[in-house]
């Protein structure tokens, strides 16, 4: 039994004839934060979505806390998990999307308590109590009765984080959680994520926030053209970027930083 929360083995993914992931091997240890960075189209979001089985890898396996995700090994080879089995495996995973994806017809409290009521079958009162605690954690207790359309982007994303936490997952996946936000709203979301990391949550974060990746990430994974080119601690990655592609990629951020400083 390995200590890996997520184990990605030889994963490749094709969309039609395009190879978007090429033979990815990656281990996400328990309690650590791994940040996936890379230029757009590098396959980092696809890799994350494979870890949630929202995309099915063309080949290779992904294991969540020792259990194969999406498949069951049997005597006659592997078969797809049934919907119920997949839900069971997925229950360890919380996911936060770039576009928040809050359900527009429910309040913030409704969004967070929905899975507790419908999936866990808790009573309305108990589900809402627990949901309220999650909202408090992301600092939005007073906004519980608001609909998504009445919340700012940053608040919506914090509600989305609370919703993902509702079923007590052991792993949190973040798909570019601040990319759809105005720059002045990214801080509040990153702070919530930082607090979560400090609590010891296992996290995989696809992000363009290099600063966040450098300060919170235990490991940085650099993807380019579907290949995992670099996988190491932030110190090593950012101190001495010997990979030419990584250097080039980080340069674009330095340029941006320079422009923002002026």
């Amino acid at each position: 039994m390995t200590d890996a929360a997520i184990l990605v083995k030889n994963v490749s993914k094709k969309f039609g004839d395009t190879l978007v992931l090429r033979d990815i091997n990656l281990e996400v240890p328990r309690g650590q934060v791994s940040c996936l960075i890379g230029p757009s189209g590098s396959g980092k979001s696809t890799l994350l979505r494979c870890m949630a089985f929202l995309e099915q890898a063309t080949s290779g396996t992904i294991t969540i806390e020792g259990e194969p995700l999406g498949f069951v090994e049997g005597p006659n080879g592997r078969r797809l998990q049934t919907a119920a089995e997949l839900r069971q495996t997925r229950s360890k995973i919380g996911m936060v999307f770039q576009q928040f994806n809050l359900w527009p017809h429910m309040t913030a409290l409704g969004n967070v308590s929905a899975s507790l009521r419908r999936v866990r079958k808790l009573s309305k009162a108990e589900a809402e109590d627990r949901a309220m605690a999650q909202l408090e954690k992301v600092g939005l207790k007073e906004r519980a009765g608001f609909y998504p359309s009445q919340l700012s982007g940053g608040q919506q994303q914090r509600v989305a984080i609370a919703r993902a936490l509702a079923l007590d997952p052991t792993i949190m996946l973040f798909d570019e959680p601040t990319s759809a936000l105005d720059p002045e709203l990214t801080g509040e979301v990153l702070n919530v994520m930082r607090a979560l990391a400090d609590e010891g949550m296992t996290m995989v974060v696809v992000t363009h926030e290099i600063g966040f990746a450098a300060s919170v990430g235990n490991k940085i994974c650099f993807l380019d053209h579907g290949k995992l080119l670099f996988h190491d601690t932030p110190e090593k990655v950012f101190a001495a970027p010997r990979e030419p592609r990584l250097e080039q990629f980080l340069d674009t951020y330095l340029d941006r930083g320079a422009i923002m400083l002026r």
Partner: protein, 214 residues
């Protein structure tokens, strides 16, 4: 035309409102079931709902009502005309509402369904708790429109023997020889009802939260 006649028309219009309201609601429920069947992934259910929708949208309501009215007793079901009228109207509006809902269901952003999947919802739970409410919300204006169409279409249920506004107007016009003021008054009452539905519908539309962001 006397006030007494107008009062009789007003009374009959309550039946028009009642029949239409019940039919719209029943039609909505049937339309949701039809949508579920169409999206179930089962080829036979898909084809069956397609036939149902095509038939009830393709045959004039008058013919549908006459058919149901005459067919039911033949297969041993005798219903009061009120029930027959409601069955006929709801089946017809269900076909139209299912077609409206189709657009709503297609408009639900995929991310909202994925997030339900990640929150542990089964396909059925996701259909009832996420997709259907959002599709209903998105097609609410079409529902108001359909309500007005059904209010007007309910004028046909006189052919199954139900006395509502139009049938009352016919009866009164035959007995008093005053078709002009009587049918004009009936028209006026329909106009006021539909205007009311449109106004309330717009109010509700503006007050309802929950349209997905573009």
């Amino acid at each position: 035309m006397s006030w007494k006649l107008f009062e009789l028309l007003l009374q009959a219009s309550l039946m028009t409102i009642f029949v239409s309201f019940i039919s719209i609601l029943a039609g909505l429920v049937i339309a949701i079931v039809l949508s579920a069947m169409r999206m179930s992934g089962n080829r036979w259910l898909y084809a069956g709902t397609g036939m149902f929708i095509s038939f009830f949208r393709g045959v004039p309501l008058l013919v549908q009502l006459l058919l149901i009215f005459n067919l039911l007793p033949l297969i041993g079901i005798t219903l009061p005309s009120l029930a027959t009228a409601i069955i006929g109207l709801s089946l017809c509006t269900a076909a139209y509402q299912a077609e409206n809902l189709r657009g709503g269901f297609e408009g639900v952003p995929i991310g909202l369904i994925e997030s339900a999947e990640m929150a542990g919802f089964s396909r059925t739970q996701s259909f009832f708790w996420i997709r259907t409410p959002i599709a209903l919300r998105m097609t609410f204006p079409a529902l108001v429109n359909e309500a007005i169409l059904i209010l007007k279409a309910s004028s046909l249920v006189s052919v199954v023997g139900l006395v509502e506004l139009t049938k009352m107007a016919q009866n009164l016009s035959a007995s008093t020889y005053q078709p002009l003021p009587i049918f004009a008054s009936a028209g006026l009452i329909y106009l006021v009802i539909n205007w009311g539905v449109a106004v309330v519908g717009r109010r509700v539309e503006n007050a309802l939260p929950g349209l997905p962001a573009k």
